[in-house]
């Protein structure tokens, strides 16, 4: 594995399976009376969050704390960034404080990649602009594997032959990018279903299929991943009205009946109930939304353990 986790494209199939299998072993810790391991004692993890986040930041914090690392939380609000400090200066400050790992979320695509050149520690990308969010893809893959193969059969298995449909605002979604890369690495067949305006220009070069018609994709899907319509990133009118979007690409109870019986419904959160997903779908037994949050802690523990738990790699390998 690389020293950093910047993009799902950096993960080979073996790396991905190692992370998922490690997470599988760590999952049992959530059921124990003492949810703590001494593994990262004395290591410092900095959560560097320039964008708002609830679940990702808390998830990383819980993961680091369960492995006994010291956690420093940094959010742009109320910090020197508000006074105009640059990302590089902030990074160097953290470096001087001895951070072994920096978990970064930033509004600019490529921020994690830049940061990795400035700091000596490990950099974990927790979402950079509209680029990537690799730990989300890992937790989604983990959730799909557990739900569709069963906990007992999941270990060591990829997602070969599974059909995953990712629906909605692909253009602004770092979750979709990371998922397309990771799920296809693991052998799944990914299809994007979205209005043409919400698909990136280069989508033809991605390892996935594309469809404008959600209804025809649903009966073929083993898992459907609904994406949030990211109004805060939208600088133009990508669809005529929210209501029309919801009619064509939203998942409501009627549309859900088109899915095969075993299929699951996923959402990376936060949800816009009534827009991309109806409340009764989000709360149905097929929905893995709450499970995804729980799995997020487990998968991030696995990532932190594999990146920080062993020997520091000598400089020659970088």
């Amino acid at each position: 594995m690389n020293r950093h986790l910047i993009s799902a494209a950096d993960l080979s199939r073996d790396d991905s399976l190692l992370i998922l299998d490690t997470a599988e072993e760590l999952a049992s810790i959530a059921d124990r009376p003492i949810k703590k391991l001494p593994t990262l004692r004395g290591r410092t993890v900095v959560n560097l969050f320039f964008e708002d986040s609830t679940r990702t930041r808390i998830s990383f914090e819980a993961a680091a704390k369960r492995l006994s690392a010291d956690v420093i939380n940094f959010s742009a609000k109320g910090s020197s960034v508000a006074k105009g400090e640059s990302l590089k200066d902030t990074a160097l400050t953290l470096e001087a404080m001895g951070a072994d790992a920096v978990v970064i979320r930033h509004g600019a695509s490529g921020a994690a990649h830049r940061l990795a050149r400035w700091v000596r520690g490990t950099v974990v990308n927790a979402g950079d602009g509209t680029h990537e969010h690799p730990t989300q893809a890992l937790l989604d893959a983990f959730t799909i594997r557990r739900r569709l193969l069963g906990i007992e059969r999941a270990r060591g298995q990829g997602l070969d032959g599974m059909r995953v449909t990712i629906v909605g605002d692909v253009l602004h979604s770092r979750v979709a990018r990371s998922n397309v890369l990771l799920l296809s690495t693991l052998g799944a067949h990914v299809t994007l279903a979205a209005p043409p305006t919400l698909l990136p220009l280069a989508v033809g070069s991605w390892p996935c299929g594309v469809s404008y018609d959600l209804d025809s994709e649903l009966p073929k899907s083993d898992a459907v991943m609904m994406l949030r319509v990211q109004q805060e990133r939208m600088t133009a009118a990508y669809f005529p009205s929210v209501r029309e979007y919801s009619r064509r690409y939203g998942l409501d109870a009627t549309r859900m009946t088109r899915l095969p019986d075993h299929a699951i419904v996923m959402h990376p959160g936060p949800m816009n109930r009534g827009v991309e997903i109806a409340a009764e779908v989000a709360d149905s037994p097929r929905s893995t939304i709450v499970e995804q949050v729980a799995n997020g802690v487990t998968v991030r523990m696995a990532v932190l353990y594999l990146l920080l738990g062993g020997a520091e790699l000598p400089a020659v390998t970088q």
């Binding site: 299998d21 072993e25 049992s28 009376p33 593994t39 353990y305 062993g310 790699l313 390998t317």
Partner: protein
């Protein structure tokens, strides 16, 4: 015990063959029953990789002798090890507790080789996080000496005096396809590129399970490949083994090795 007849003898000199392992386990099973007054409230926990099949075999034997079903599980200690920072992060083994848990039970930890005692230390810590057993005991197939911590085994299959330069490999049918305990001489001249792998790096990295990993294809991430592990073994004659088995020679052996023979601290490349 004839090395020439053993299919795996080329990896080192066999010190226990399948029958001897079977007899040792049978004796340990009886001893556990004796010491625990009939095996009431006993839970067997194997330390991955090879402790787990050993624990299962012991439970099976106890079941045959007393008609008693002994709960059996596995306890992975990787996340509690004290040598994590010496090597790249390694894959985790499974931790599976029997349904009844360990609270108030007599837990017998089972492992293949007892060496520095550090794995057992980690296992005791891991166990503390899972519950509060009434007592904890330790059963090992081979005790090869060179303890670095105040730990001893309650049940020992075979005391095997070794020098720190030597490597002890336990092979079990469930994992390796055959039953044997082998001893090999990791002499410096023979060091293959695999020398920085777990088994070659004596005391700090001497977990029983890792002591034996090099001989089993595909059990851990840090595995160096069968060819590499064979190259790191030189044949020893039976006479040499007998010589090394005398306590005074063992002491001399460990002195001459100066604790350095196996201490190769070259960091491994992982990418």
């Amino acid at each position: 015990m004839c090395a020439a007849l053993n299919p795996v003898a080329r990896q080192g000199l066999a010190v226990l063959d399948a029958d001897e392992i079977r007899r040792a386990l049978t004796r340990i099973a009886h001893e556990i029953l004796e010491r625990t007054h009939g095996g009431e409230e006993v839970v067997l926990l194997g330390v991955p990789t090879r402790g787990v099949p050993l624990a299962r075999r012991l439970a099976e034997r106890i079941g045959q002798f007393e008609g008693l079903e002994i709960p059996c599980g596995s306890l992975d200690v990787t996340l509690h090890r004290d040598d994590l920072r010496l090597r790249p992060a390694r894959a985790l083994g499974r931790t599976e507790l029997p349904a009844g848990g360990v609270d108030g039970k007599t837990v017998v930890l089972v492992d293949d080789v007892l060496y520095s005692g550090r794995t057992v230390r980690a296992a005791l810590d891991a166990l503390t996080d899972l519950g509060r057993p009434r007592t904890v005991q330790l059963a090992v197939l081979v005790d090869r000496g060179h303890r670095e911590l105040p730990i001893r085994a309650d049940y020992v299959g075979k005391n095997l005096p070794t020098s720190q330069r030597e490597m002890v490999h336990v092979l079990l049918t469930e994992v390796d396809g055959t039953d044997a305990v082998l001893i090999g001489d990791g002499s410096p001249g023979d060091r293959s590129p695999d020398a920085s792998s777990p088994s070659a790096r004596s005391p700090d990295a001497s977990s029983p399970s890792t002591t034996s990993t090099t001989s089993s294809p595909g059990t851990t991430a840090a595995h160096g490949g069968p060819a590499a592990s064979e190259a790191s073994f030189a044949h020893r004659t039976a006479a040499e083994v007998r010589k090394a088995s005398r306590p005074d020679d063992t002491a001399a052996g460990s002195r001459t090795s100066g604790g350095s023979g196996g201490l190769v601290s070259t960091p491994r490349k992982t990418q």
